[in-house]
Amino acid sequence: MVNLTIDDKQVTAPKNSTIYDAAKINGIKIPILCHDKKLKPFGACRMCLVEVEQMRGRQVPACTTPITEGMIIRTSTPDIIKARKMVLELLLLNHPIDCPVCDKGGDCDLQNLTYEYKVNANRFSDEKFHHEIDYSNPLIERDMNRCVLCGKCARICDEIVSFGALTFISRGIETKIGCEFEGSLNCEFCGSCVSVCPVGSLLARPFKFKARFWALTNQKSVCGYCGTGCNLTLGVKDNKVLTTVYDENQGFHNGQLCCRGRFGYQFINSDKRLNTPLVRKNGSLTEATWDEALELVAARLKGAGSSAAALATPRLTNEELVLFKRLMETAGSANYDHSAGYAHAALTEGFAKSFGAAASPATILDIQKSDLLLVIKTDSYETHPVIGFEINMAVKNKGVKLNILSDKRGKLSKLPDAQTLVHTPGSEIAVINALAKTILDDKLAAGTAAAIPGYADLEKALAGFTPEAVAGQSGLAASAIKRLANDYAKAEKALILFPIGNAYPGHNADLASAVANLALLTGKLGTEGSGVLCMAEKNNSQGAVDMGFYATSGLNAGQIMDGCASGAIKTLFVAGENPVVSYPNRAAISAALDKVEFLVVSDLFMTETAAMADVVLPACSFAEKEGTFTSVDRRVQHIKPAIRNIGQSRTDFEIFGQLIAKLGGQAPATPATVFGEIAASAPGYAGMSYASLGETGAFAPVAVTAAFVVPKTVAVEPAAGKLALVTGSALYHNGTLSQFGEGPMHVCPEGYLELSRTDAAKLQIKENDLLNVASAIGSTKLKARITPRMPEGVLFSPYHFGAAAINQVWSGAPVTWVTVTK
């Protein structure tokens, strides 16, 4: 700690702080326009000038000057106030005073400082700028006439998002922020630039002219898309969520969000939300009362036993999932599952066996504290973009080494010094085994490894996985495998990350065990910056696992579908899932749901699955609920309702509770009561309560009981003349819910088929050509997207879309062999 004096106050601050930071942590406010705590100091705006006595009273920028012992600083002498006034006069010289129509009004740093420093006249005069306003995209408006050139947008896009869409162009008075060739913005549309803009230069277009900033009520919540667990502030007016509000102090991510988090909120107040319960009468769904609908469902469930089954989306709260399970148990059925039954297997089977706990023994906070990251699939950026930002920052700011094992290249491969090993699709487990084999052969294993149960079996099982043997089937050089194994084993701290989800059937229990073996062999577990992080797809996927909402004694999702088809399952209750789109093999799923006698769907929207139902119950979004979500790293976070229920919709908590009561059971009164039960029973949740979770949430610790498990490998046999289709997530989407978020749909409105330049040339395909993709189970039509990241012979398609869905082609195998024709 360093001792210094600021404004006659004796204060201390950590070494390496700047004057600005030191003042801030001691509650002294220094005005500034170009500073954001996530970004490196820049010193562009000159508003933060202070006087330092040791520098003979010279005015220095507080944001770039490091503190030294005994420094005597004055932040608001008459001279400084005069200087700041002049800075504001100079800024206002070119900045248009169009505050009445500017959406930033009330939240504008320049406006607030002008008011604070009483700049009511200007001694200078000059013309305003006449830059053209960029309206070319539907999400971000760029009005460079209002820009004060603080550079925050360009810096956040480079330092955190690592995209570099914006930069300073030209110089002197002509300087402006823009894209290459002064063209229009064409980027990831995460809106980070909008969030940090101190003036109205960069605005969220969906929020334009919707409300004045001071008319909004800010409600804190947790994002309802992926499993990262980002905190959100929802801007609410008249029971409508109108925007997300940036708060740099929120969450581990300091308010940083991705496209779907920032711009995907529209589904909450969408016109397409279901408002009333619907009951099928004479073949069509007609409006009904809640009583009527719930009576029908209760009558079907009562005493149904194992002929009833349930599928839930892991977007429900922990409390709702517990209640749903209880409802099924009251009905006498143990048939309940989520995420197609296989998408949670990495946790519920893989980690459960390897670590003795169905959770990841690492947190997101370990990413920046590690020395080496091993990322399985570049898709990790697309599935969890804010974790992707953490990786960007680790690599760019902390010098963490990045190694990627993937079936295609991606944004992460573009990071400085990133090593990407592109293997043939489906061979990842063999490659990871080869890494383990190299670690054993090169005597890189930790001394403790041999004592872990299963060591001898693993050693024996890995005999055939020499790098040379795996090189052939994986398309990698044996030397590359050996180098990666050495790098991983020799790094002091190393973290492995991999995504799981409906679209990643190859990321199964065996993959989880294979990576767990690596960590156990080298002892990279249980210390800060080391471990394995399995990134589950949805906002409460980890919670669904922790609540035990998956098949243990009953049927799993796949078997439930088979049961529907065979007639063994007569009543199916689907809460929030949309199997018709999100489960593989659409024809089979549709046929099964057609066959089942009674289908109940509770959902926000009339999804493809809901349209087949006999009873549809309008459910609530996360913004209307109270409960808890558990993120991929088991951070348990409490959410409170930000708005009242839309229409007649009810939360799934109310729906399940009322059904339990109708079946004669005892329904808990509030989510808090259920959370009390969770805290008493779920492993790691002991001692938690809504009060103890607070605003930041709390980690449910993972107790590891290590064991080596031999992963099964299935060799993917190439099919002659066919191309390998792999499925996955698009950056802008998560599950099927984001189809109802306008922001993501503006940027990525439909499915597509990504293919390599070589294959495109061979098949004479041009960008945006409509292609017919056919496999053994069916065909669909998708637009071509030709990208340099795809290896020859490999195709990629995202799975989120109901129209021209890839699950008409995709059988659920990690690799589907298809033919592509124009």
Binding site: D158, G164, A165, T167, I169, R171, C179, E180
Partner: protein, 167 residues
């Protein structure tokens, strides 16, 4: 583009690639590489900047930002002839700036711009380091010391008229 042109383009790309390799594709050698590219191509077009960005793993916006910052880099094709007027302190005092104005008027081109037919680019430079020759003008890499309006116009007109415009 005919066969001859495409061959030349390939040579130029190869030369640029050689320079980038000499710099080991280091992003911090961007400015040197931009100079090399401009030497090869005469100016920096979208394709060349895009290529450099991709090879150095830099965002295209940043490469464009750097190229637009320095006046040394041309982002538009130069004319077939080039007239550079020195407006450094000595040349300015000796009437260089006035000369530039006169030339702008005479040829109807603003300083820094190229005639619509692509025949002539008129530009200024801050100092050529030959103050003893003020006012100094450089026409197509050839210095015209102690320049004055009449002779310069004559010289330029001769160059423009003497152009071989046959296909």
């Amino acid at each position: 583009m005919n066969v001859h042109d495409s061959h030349r383009a390939d040579d130029r790309h190869r030369a640029l690639e050689r320079v980038m390799q000499q710099h080991r594709l280091r992003p911090d050698s961007l400015i040197e590489i931009l100079h090399a590219a401009q030497r090869q191509f005469g100016w920096l077009d979208r394709d060349v900047l895009g290529l450099i960005a991709a090879r150095l793993r830099l965002p295209p916006s940043l490469v464009y930002g750097v190229a637009s910052f320095y006046h040394a880099f041309r982002l538009e094709p130069p004319g077939r002839h080039r007239c550079t007027v020195c407006t450094g302190t000595s040349c300015h005092l000796k009437g260089g700036s006035r000369l530039l104005q006169q030339l702008e008027q005479h040829f109807g081109i603003a300083c820094g711009a190229t005639a619509p037919d692509g025949s002539l680019t008129l530009e200024n430079v801050r100092c050529l380091g030959a103050c003893g020759l003020a006012p100094l003008i450089v026409i197509d890499d050839e210095a015209c010391p102690h320049a004055s309006f009449g002779p310069v116009v004559e010289r330029l007109t001769a160059s423009l008229d003497g152009e071989d415009t046959s296909p």
